[in-house]
């Protein structure tokens, strides 16, 4: 099985540790992983701003870059969601269909393709709260959303439940959006920040040390607020937690 590693553009530049943790995790499973250097961005920021036609070249570039892999794994529910759901506006060649159906979020890949019991046990002795990114939660259905009357499940918690020493604390509004929303964070900065601040307060009030999430974009926003407000809270990507063996 040949895995193409997709590292979202902002993760590549600002959070290399998340990319490294993802790569090491996948390699640790004995998988053949490659990071194609030509990759750029999935095009989501452009499309979310209402210019999906302008994003088409980046969609086509993404497909060209990743079409030869069996799976394309990204440490981001948001980018995986975009490729799977919004690449429907380009002609659906066999390559496009393959890339769309084989692009998975890391937690999804570990759960569904590998099996959560196959992963080497990690150790992360901290009190933490999970941040379910909306694209992961309601877009990829990585967990059950609180709006629906259907059996509960969580692919994130499946993985985190096996981490030694980790105490996962429930928060009061577990699937309230953090307010990042891509360009929303700069086109409506006041409400975006208020949502983020309220979200941070929820973790704070529930006494966690770390906010764990599968999406670095939400965490970039929350961390920006945490540091501005000088709060005793840290953010960490789920890949880093699963790859902690200290």
């Amino acid at each position: 099985m040949k895995i193409g590693l997709f590292i979202p553009c902002y993760v590549n530049q600002f959070y290399p540790k998340v990319g490294i943790a993802t790569l090491e995790l996948l390699e640790g499973l004995g998988l053949d992983v490659e990071y194609p250097m030509e990759q750029t961005c999935c095009g989501q920021p452009i499309a979310n701003s209402g210019m999906e036609k302008d994003a088409i070249p980046s969609y086509q570039h993404f497909v060209r870059t990743f079409k030869s892999y069996d799976y394309i794994v990204a440490p981001s529910g948001s980018c995986a969601y975009h490729v799977r759901n919004h690449y429907d506006i380009i002609p659906q060649s066999a390559d496009v269909e393959k890339v769309r159906s084989k692009t998975l979020d890391l937690a999804e890949f570990l759960n569904d393709i590998i099996g959560s019991d196959k992963i080497r046990q990690a150790r992360f002795p901290h009190k933490a709260g999970l941040h379910q990114s909306c694209h992961g939660l309601r877009g990829l259905r990585l967990a059950q959303s609180s709006e629906r009357v259907l059996p509960a499940f969580s692919k994130w918690e499946n993985l985190l439940g096996k981490v030694d020493g980790l105490s996962l604390v429930p928060i009061t509004f577990p699937d309230e959006c953090c307010g990042f929303g891509g360009t929303f964070s700069v086109t409506e900065p006041e409400v975006s920040s208020k949502m983020g601040s309220d979200k941070v307060d929820d973790y704070l009030n529930n006494g966690v040390e770390y906010i764990i999430s599968g999406d670095m974009s939400c965490l970039m926003h929350l961390d920006g607020i945490i540091r501005r407000r000088k709060l005793p809270l840290k953010t960490i990507h789920i890949a880093e937690v699963l790859n902690s063996h200290g």
Binding site: I7, V11, N12, Q13, F14, P16, K17, V18, G19, L23, Y35, M37, Q39, T40, G43, I46, A47, N48, S49, G50, M51, E52, K53, D54, A55, P57, S58, H61, C134, L137, R138, G139, S145, E147, R148, V149, L150, D175, E176, C177, G179, G181, G182, T183, F184, S185, V186, T187, E188, P189, V191, S192, S193, K194, M195, D223, G224, I225, R227, R228
Partner: protein, 461 residues
């Protein structure tokens, strides 16, 4: 802020709403309460998701055959002795209503359940023609006294605190100053309204459902004002958006089970009233209103929104609405559903609304008729941009980025450039031009990117 001047965008209106943080928190909590009550009630309905699918498919059928259901409805209602009118737009609606009232020399009317009449601007139309219009639902009456538009489709005065209502009633109804007891205030309002009911010569109501099979209309309320109105004066007029049609009587069972739990978390509303024919010696009119609905039906991407039963669940769950208030949407229907309905019909006035969302998707998951609300918001962003409604600056910046994304070299140069920028002095990074940095720190740029690391540590060639 209760004005609907379209020059002020959602972002600008939100910013000023958010200046009063304690009030924002209070508003967030008050609206979230609806959502909490909804959750508590529906968790006891195991077939909830099946009901949603059923309701959605009944409405799907209605939208596909709307013309024949409307004709069937008209025929059945006419046979029941009801007079049915067709209004192509708001102006036609208002003049039809006025003509009926005029014929009976009506100068005082009572009104209930009136989002549609609000949409058509009926109140000012009738008032300028010498007719007194009294909104009888408590929340509506409150905002009418304050000369404000509604800020929420089922709780139009949700933006007001009890103290503000107490002050208003002290002013207008001479209640005790400072008495904020809800029972006391409601009783005062009831007394005031009773007099209006007794003097009214006609009643106007909206409806929740119109049943094609029976020609009857169904009105669901908690206060019973629609019934007081309809049962007292000789003339009753029901204004009905054409999408309110459901084919059969038995379909009501599905919608009634979904509506009250979604709206307020009640298992069922207090009053579910069925009107089929005029009272003896009276007249019953039904005005079927299009006002942009059939155009909307013709656009395949957005027609799903016509399934809406106006339960307000998407509004109550919306993290943006809760923190920015109804007036930030500068329209009668606020929140996620309003952010589709308004710009789909009047893109020149409401092109900011599809962007007033983080696209979290909670609206789509609460919607009892399964409207894909946040997908439609995403689509509307595309449509509005293509029609040229997105501002110049945003467009240029995004275009620059788009150009580089399909060229790895250019892209990595522009990302590196951005990273270098982040190393700039703080005073530059957090200048007023940096909208991110007003409330948030930027990420600290690391020594090397992942791709640099990968080249050094993994790349074999």
């Amino acid at each position: 802020m209760g004005d609907f001047n379209h020059h002020l965008t959602h972002a600008a209106r939100s910013a000023s709403f958010l200046e009063d943080e304690p009030r924002t928190n209070w508003h967030n909590g008050a609206v979230m309460n609806f959502r909490k009550k909804r959750d508590a009630t529906i968790k006891a309905i195991p077939e909830w998701e099946e009901l949603r699918s059923l309701a959605s498919s009944i409405k799907e059928n209605v939208l596909g055959n709307l013309d024949s259901y409307l004709e069937q409805f008209e025929k059945a209602a006419t046979e029941n002795g009801v007079r049915v009118h067709w209004a192509a737009d708001a102006a036609a609606h208002n003049s039809i209503v006025h003509e009926i009232l005029n014929r009976h020399q009506v100068t005082r009317i009572v009104k209930s359940k009136s989002i549609l009449t609000e949409e058509c601007g009926l109140n000012p139309y009738l008032e300028s023609r010498g007719i007194e219009v009294i909104d009888t639902d408590l929340g509506e009456r409150i905002i009418q006294m304050r000369d404000e538009p509604p800020s929420h489709i089922i709780a139009p005065a949700i933006h007001l605190k009890r103290e503000e209502v107490s002050e208003l009633f002290h002013d207008r109804l001479q209640t005790e100053k400072g008495n904020t007891d809800p029972t006391y205030l409601t009783r005062a309002a009831r007394l005031h309204l009773r007099e209006k009911f007794l003097k009214a010569q006609a009643a106007i109501t909206g409806v929740n459902f119109a049943v094609a099979e029976t020609g009857g209309v169904v009105i669901i309320t908690n206060e019973g004002n629609a019934d007081m109105g309809c049962n007292l004066p000789p003339v009753q007029i029901h204004c009905v958006g054409i999408e309110k049609i459901i084919p059969r009587w038995e379909h009501l069972g599905v919608f009634l089970r979904l509506l009250a739990p979604s709206a307020s978390g009640q298992k069922s509303s207090i009053y579910t009233s069925h009107y089929h024919q005029p009272k003896s010696g009276g007249e019953m009119h039904i005005v079927l209103v299009d006002n942009g609905r059939s155009d909307h039906l013709g656009s395949p991407d957005f027609r799903n929104t016509l399934k809406c039963i106006r339960c307000s669940a998407c509004i109550n769950t919306c993290p943006v609405y809760r923190r920015t208030g109804g007036y930030s949407y500068h329209s009668v229907v606020a929140g996620p559903i309003g952010s589709i309905l308004n710009p789909a019909r009047h893109p020149e006035q409401y092109n900011d609304l599809p962007f007033a969302s983080s696209l979290c998707g909670s609206c789509t998951d609460v919607c009892p008729v399964k409207i894909d609300i946040h997908h439609q918001l995403y689509h509307l962003r595309q449509t509005l941009t293509e029609k040229g409604y997105v501002t110049y600056v945003k467009k240029t910046i995004m275009k620059m980025a788009a150009g580089s994304m399909s060229h790895p070299g250019k892209f990595s140069r522009s990302m590196k450039w951005m990273k270098r920028l982040l190393g700039a002095p703080r005073w530059l990074l957090y200048s007023p031009f940096n909208v991110w940095g007003k409330t948030r720190e930027l990420p600290a740029p690391p020594a090397e990117s992942f791709s640099d690391w990968y080249l050094k540590n993994r790349k074999k060639t």
